[in-house]
Amino acid sequence: MTSPSPACVEGATVLAQERLTEDVYRLTVATTTGGTPGQFYMVRSWDREPLLARPISIHKMNEDTVSFLYQVCGRGTELLARLEEGGEVTLTGPLGHGFRIGELRGRIAIVTGGIGIAPTFCLACMLPVRDVTVIAGFESTPYAVAELLTLGVDVRVATEDGSDGTRGFCTEIFDPPAFDTVVTCGPMPMMARVAQLCAGAGVPCQASLEARMACGIGACLVCPCPTVQGNQRVCADGPVFDAAEVIWHA
């Protein structure tokens, strides 16, 4: 799968805005720009303030739409949450290199923490249902899980407050030797732990990283990911990296 070349789409129409939990929303936008799972868009729904667009992963897509699953955690995501059907957003993307689907083999574990489920959702949808196990951790109320279950995906949930599934972190219910390849997305400490577990078990792992961004396309170098080959750009060389190459505690 080659990545489509990115475009800057001004005034893309909002088709739907759904509130899934207290602070998690799903925004669906009319655009034909698509992408591959793990790629992202720089999104803005405001004019001048804040200054920069926000990187948000592709959560779902088809020929005419892209959906984003996002958690409100600051000014930008707050403004996104104010959008209503018929509103407009500016999108730049699809950007970055997504999951290397060709390298996923055998039993595949998708280990996510919180909003990390966003990009892995569309990956899970593309893979043969019987090969995939999603191990998803949340602070409290889960989201996006019900839909995966409907699709027949094996989903195992852990919540920190025990309100659903196992109480605790998703890493506690993740048993690397049971899988042939692993994909992970979530907070850095969680991914570091997953990477460590995978390394210990000798299981290849792809991790989708986050970093604050400015350009989003590889020009400004503000989004480094320290790797064994030196600093890579999360936006352009990632966001998906081979977990074994990432220096997790730099």
Partner: protein
């Protein structure tokens, strides 16, 4: 209409991509024909490769952003081998921005870069606030700067443009010192030394504590500095700092800039520079100007400026 000559080099127009915000030019080629730009300044280059700074590298501020990249670059030899050939296919002027940790690195770096086919102008960066040694340390005191410029001038076989720091003690004196030591142009401003505090961790946001502020927030100060420098020197001045619209660019030109560089605004919208070029073209057409040089430095000629010429 917009064709501009900058220290002997012909630019299609006076709109140049600012160093560190446009990679080596190829990145934005997906979004527009970068050959339409007047020129591209490379990411700051040093003789030896650099990994840049650890920790967070970007932070948003009201109408601006702070960065602490710290001159991450592959080193000049790798640039010449890998990036320059690709840049030369972009059909726009190539300005090599060169930093250094000490005088020797500057001199060797510029010797190498200026000798390379395809480099049109060398931009000497004595104004990076994000590296511990060198960088801005050379750009605060005019005498120190003069020493670097003099040394570099001797080895630089291409037009030499010195990029000034807004943190300089006296920006006009700094520009004069550069002119006296043989600079062919000055560009200003680089980023402002700034601070952000994370009140939760009770620490500075950046590992380096301070970082460089850029974007629309700095425009009014940058514009004042460009005006002061344009009145002080006879070499061309390239205006930089918060330019986001063609009106902003025109303000810098009227204040005395021969050309402008656009940095942060490209992050807001990849095609910002094309919009600026279009706007300047429309302006010239509407005002029946055959060249922007008609209005360049026009502020220096209006009465209200003359009043102040005598004021320090």
């Amino acid at each position: 209409m917009l064709e501009t000559t900058l220290c002997g080099v012909t630019l299609k127009n006076p709109v140049i991509a600012a160093s560190g915000t446009f990679g080596f030019g190829a990145e934005y080629d997906d979004f527009f024909d970068v050959g339409k730009l007047g020129g591209i300044c490379t990411k700051g280059l040093t003789l030896h490769p650099r990994e840049g700074n650890p920790g967070l590298r970007v932070w948003e501020t009201p109408a601006g952003m702070m960065n602490s990249v710290g001159l991450q670059n592959p080193g000049i030899p790798v640039f010449l081998e890998r990036e320059l050939p690709r840049m030369r296919t972009l059909d726009t002027a190539i300005i090599a921005n060169v930093g250094g940790g000490d005088l020797e690195e500057y001199v060797e770096g510029i010797r190498l870069v200026s000798g390379a086919e395809g480099v049109d102008i060398v931009e000497l960066n004595i104004s990076c606030p994000n590296v511990h040694e060198g960088g801005m340390a050379f750009g605060i005191d005019s005498d120190v700067a003069a020493g670097v410029v003099a040394a570099v001038r001797r080895v630089c076989t291409k037009p030499l443009m010195v990029k000034l720091s807004p943190n300089a003690e006296d920006i006009a004196a700094m520009a004069i010192a550069c002119e006296q030591e043989g600079a062919d142009a000055v560009s200003l401003v680089n980023t402002f030394k700034a601070l952000a505090v994370d009140i939760h961790t009770r620490k500075a946001v950046f590992d380096n504590v301070t970082a460089g502020l850029s974007g629309p927030c700095i425009k009014p100060i940058a514009l004042r500095m460009v005006w002061e420098v344009a009145r002080a020197v006879h070499i061309p001045v390239v205006g930089i700092g918060g330019i986001a619209t063609w009106q902003d660019a025109l303000e810098f030109i009227m204040a005395g800039a021969t050309a402008v560089q656009v940095g942060t605004a490209t992050f807001i919208k990849p095609t910002t520079m094309l919009d600026i070029i279009d706007g300047l073209e429309r302006y010239c057409a509407n005002e029946h100007l055959t060249s922007l040089s008609t209005v360049c430095n026009i502020l220096g000629t209006v009465p209200n400026c003359n009043i102040l010429r005598r004021i320090p």
